[in-house]
Symmetry: D2
Subunit: 393 residues, 4 copies
Amino acid sequence: MTEFRLAWVYFAIAIVLASAANAADTEKAEDRKRIRDLGITIGTLAPGPLNAITDVDGVLVGHVTLNRGEGRLEPGKGPVRTGVTAILPHGGDLWREKVPAATYVLNGTGEMTGSIWIETQGALEVPILLTNTMNVGRVMDGVVAYMLKRYPDIGIRDDVVAPTVAECDDSTLNDARGIHVSIEDTVRAIESAKGGAVAEGAVGAGTGMMAFGFKGGIGTASRVLPAEAGGYTVGALVNANMDSRKNLRVDGVPVGREIRSDQPTRGQDGSIVIVIATDAPLDHLKLKRLASKASLGLARTGAMSHHGSGDLFLAFSTANRVPHYPKQRTYTMRVVADTHLDPIFEAAQDATEEAILNALTMATTTVGRDGNTAHAIPLDQLVAIMKKYDRLE
Amino acid sequence: MTEFRLAWVYFAIAIVLASAANAADTEKAEDRKRIRDLGITIGTLAPGPLNAITDVDGVLVGHVTLNRGEGRLEPGKGPVRTGVTAILPHGGDLWREKVPAATYVLNGTGEMTGSIWIETQGALEVPILLTNTMNVGRVMDGVVAYMLKRYPDIGIRDDVVAPTVAECDDSTLNDARGIHVSIEDTVRAIESAKGGAVAEGAVGAGTGMMAFGFKGGIGTASRVLPAEAGGYTVGALVNANMDSRKNLRVDGVPVGREIRSDQPTRGQDGSIVIVIATDAPLDHLKLKRLASKASLGLARTGAMSHHGSGDLFLAFSTANRVPHYPKQRTYTMRVVADTHLDPIFEAAQDATEEAILNALTMATTTVGRDGNTAHAIPLDQLVAIMKKYDRLE
Amino acid sequence: MTEFRLAWVYFAIAIVLASAANAADTEKAEDRKRIRDLGITIGTLAPGPLNAITDVDGVLVGHVTLNRGEGRLEPGKGPVRTGVTAILPHGGDLWREKVPAATYVLNGTGEMTGSIWIETQGALEVPILLTNTMNVGRVMDGVVAYMLKRYPDIGIRDDVVAPTVAECDDSTLNDARGIHVSIEDTVRAIESAKGGAVAEGAVGAGTGMMAFGFKGGIGTASRVLPAEAGGYTVGALVNANMDSRKNLRVDGVPVGREIRSDQPTRGQDGSIVIVIATDAPLDHLKLKRLASKASLGLARTGAMSHHGSGDLFLAFSTANRVPHYPKQRTYTMRVVADTHLDPIFEAAQDATEEAILNALTMATTTVGRDGNTAHAIPLDQLVAIMKKYDRLE
Amino acid sequence: MTEFRLAWVYFAIAIVLASAANAADTEKAEDRKRIRDLGITIGTLAPGPLNAITDVDGVLVGHVTLNRGEGRLEPGKGPVRTGVTAILPHGGDLWREKVPAATYVLNGTGEMTGSIWIETQGALEVPILLTNTMNVGRVMDGVVAYMLKRYPDIGIRDDVVAPTVAECDDSTLNDARGIHVSIEDTVRAIESAKGGAVAEGAVGAGTGMMAFGFKGGIGTASRVLPAEAGGYTVGALVNANMDSRKNLRVDGVPVGREIRSDQPTRGQDGSIVIVIATDAPLDHLKLKRLASKASLGLARTGAMSHHGSGDLFLAFSTANRVPHYPKQRTYTMRVVADTHLDPIFEAAQDATEEAILNALTMATTTVGRDGNTAHAIPLDQLVAIMKKYDRLE
């Protein structure tokens, strides 16, 4: 009884603080900037026109953001701070024109369904979906619904479908017990996926995510290699939900140690999902190696890959197609020689690092269930720290 | 139009043949026998009292069988020949008293969700569920529902859940597009799981499965090591849905080549999921090696591990507990020394081989969607062939 | 002192028995037959003209057999029952025209050097060498010597070399402490490698090996797919040194249980190395899957893959070339579609099974150090058992 | 002919430049400092008393440095800039008291023999040796010689030995074709291994290594966790031979971009071997995860893990012993719960990062074959750059 009342008091305080946080917050979506627009440049390679995974020709991204309710958690009802993000390697018939792909596990406290199949076929034949942990089943169901609708032969005269859904845990902000991302939301994320600029931060699967003790979520970036290195584009999209404040590095600067304000009401030692896309012609093995390089970009943000983190990566290449039940016995793949891979590896690392930083700088302060609050990283402080260390041009 | 009419003709013929098959079928459930009861003995180790995975003390199995409707496929409606099977390492608080576990992929054209997490934690904390391919999402949803009900702190003050669901494709017999296994069915399979004899053949997740061109599905077996080898029990449970007729071997005898009758109306080159349980104290690495040995028992049935097969194995040991967020920093594990593993390896291989054969000899002829029929292996022919080759005592 | 005298008595007895065994032995090399020549046919696919790994066009095999001295072990001196076997994917410039390759570990109590590199590059650029366990270093040295001689730029303007050497333990018959396989022996095995028929049994690296309690060693076999399955050739070469008598199966018949004679003086629970070659165009991933299928052929001989067994497999394809420091950024690979892989998988399994049996039926009784004796499997008994079970045409 | 003369001219110029470099070099061994002694602190955890892998109680390190000859390369003769380093988990009977261990491959263009066996047994039973690439065979031979001498039963009544030897390529400075590290050198490295301070830089296996376009080689560091995190010690020892100048980061500061002087005469895009030791009680799986964390420490130095890099890691724990052919069937292991692993992970990352930096700051300018020169990183410039960016206390 007493405990219960005490809980209410804490809750009331949390709500007040959160409201204050909200009130004080000048970091609205329209004020958020991408890391590069703050004058911070990661690496030496040039980004693509959108500095997004969609710079890889054909790649589509769709978000469905679920953000409703506030106040005390009513399990199963809300508040809802979650969503789903779809990434499509191309807008064509992916089922019949699969793309070479590979997965990589840096720290496997997480789930990426379909990875056994991707590692066997060496290719991806379904959209990639990101969502929250306990919603993976529902979103798989959504992918199946989408595929059944689109392919009437599936499960009758054609194969059955194994969806690829990867998760991070947003239960600090979100009513995770509510399993709020529906089949329809999933289908909508896939069907609304498009090229062009990609919304970042607290959107789609990133809606309830936290990273480095700030609001995290979706971030993206890209690199275009010079012509003499093949002119390939490499893009990264992350759902950043990992690590604690003290570890954050921005271009090597220990920003996390310096920003003492804007502490979250509660830590969330989550995960990061990283998707790497490229138009460089790579097969499964080279893509697996490429995916592994995301570890290095991640590390350079200071992330420690904690025990509780599901650091799961997926890389695909749009440059070849793997056929579905072809009549011809063989097909050809064009691939980059190993001795020419390094610029592609570098691009993946830099794009990953920048995508994570974009997730932070584009995310907006979010008050979730029970008033739990993840603050947007204060851009003014960030810039000031970079200046202090003489690292801004 | 003509095609459509032709389809109807084929369908009518199929139904007639199927009915004939049914009529002629003397292989009703009550007439089916386990392979050992036919006088066929696999290996030299003794089985446990039930010759089932439930001989491993504490292990529980639950089936929910969905078998309704007949005739032409109406996608989304039926006929339904599917189900869900739950295996629980123990009947206690698995979430807080995890068991060491490992997975193994022989051929990965399949899905076993949760395997990334099992391979990271080295332990299993949720029931293992088996079902059909496109139902994996729904069954994951069911596991989440079960866990949320049982553990009110999950997703609030406790971790979130990553279910372990493995699948085979039953779409030849079942209306796979219908996603007929519900959340409720899943919860029921878990909650009804019990020790004792295990129903085999066309039950639970095995309801619509086919193996070696016969009706397949669930099979189980066990071995008890002599006291001087530790006295451990090793049990196997399979969902057998793989391979074609010609490859079937029974205790090395090429039975599949000899039985020409009872051909299925349509082949189904599916998968096999194998779960190995033991009370031998093994840690993750030793269990991973144990799981890999299931390959050898599988091979001895003649299975080829075709491209399209999801040959996914999971092994767990009930002899140690892995704690959930323990206050104490360390815990102890008792393990069998590598140099004493061989009898346990042998037991797993023999139990696997026998479990697969039990799946065949216990399954009953099943007429599924569009009259597609999988016949029970004719036990009289099987016995006759074994006699012909002087392999029956 | 007493122990020492007792040891001498045992030794004298062993020598007498071994001599008797030798005297009684009618299983001389000229009397040995391959399993198929005994009327035993494994699987349904046709073998190639030589029924050997060299049926894969271009593949070369070289053996250097070291067999000298007899009587009591003088560590470092002898008796010597060992050797080295070289397998070359092609007779050209392998360093600059690498072949796609992959390795697979079924049970890793063994060593295959170079496997990390093969798994990274997805290709093989050096000859494959087989030898005894403690000789791996010396044989690596030999490969380096061969490469340095052939490629004067290596280590100066060109890369350095990582040899691929796989081992089994022949210490029951051989003075393993003597490290008798020299650099020169290794170079000779490589340089003498040739196409055509392959010597089997107690030759090369197989000289001191034992399998199923019989003399084992080198065996080979091949399969040629029908034109409608691609017409590809798949060959296997094994160094068989594993498992115990009771487990041996020949085409499923429990031959090991039935042959009670010819027991070895001492068991040797060793390993098996399996090399699969094919001219089917397969890339690294498909070759890795192909290599894994050797497990199934191995299992069908009854092998248990004991704890102490190094069951290490390597598969390569001669149908594509991977360039060495190419000027062109990309190259093309032709590959078989997954949906056409099954006949290739089947061929690998059957060739593996037959190669193991050939290792047994072609090996000759060998008396090694301390009179330790491994008997050739008695072909007359083998044939009689197969007839008894009505399994000989 | 003309080419030959031109080569001589280049050579003469190289020698002159190298001598100049040498002359100008104030960076003698006695002037070199460890990174921490320059005022640069990596991470927040405290180092052990020696800040070396030998802070882990019982761990021993031995170096044999081969540095002789100068001038033009005479293949097989010199100049010699190479060596061998031995790391022993404890000074007792490692063969019979094995330690839990695991390996991890970040980028596998390299060799670590014995890793298949370590991954199977989950333990290490032999000293770890580091050397140059083409010397791996000879050093394996040396380990075998050491083991045979120490264990007279090996290869007779006891098992055979599979050595663990890991390599980097020193062929830019060293006459790699000479295979200069002998069996005797190897035995000497093992037998001279001792606790206490560890020589760093151009010593042992690090003698001819280069990293970030500077002289690299051996580096070490350690961390001691606070008592409330278990008080465990974690040590790292690296052989750093990787990456190019522009990528070098020191505590996040882009030092490599700023130091334009002291360019090497020739790049060497090599590898890094990382050995992690701890007295925290970890089993194979937890050690594998620990080894993987070295990737993150590596990444924070800016290393890109290029295609040509063999980034191979090995972790072991001294807190448990794995018995050799025990009579008792089972043994116990004490392990840290997953939820208490994070500080150990952090320690491994920080120790790895610092060990790499120590390899640089402790290495001395080395002129190798053909006058090829790797300069020591100029400490004055390094300090100045760190000051410029306000990152020195």
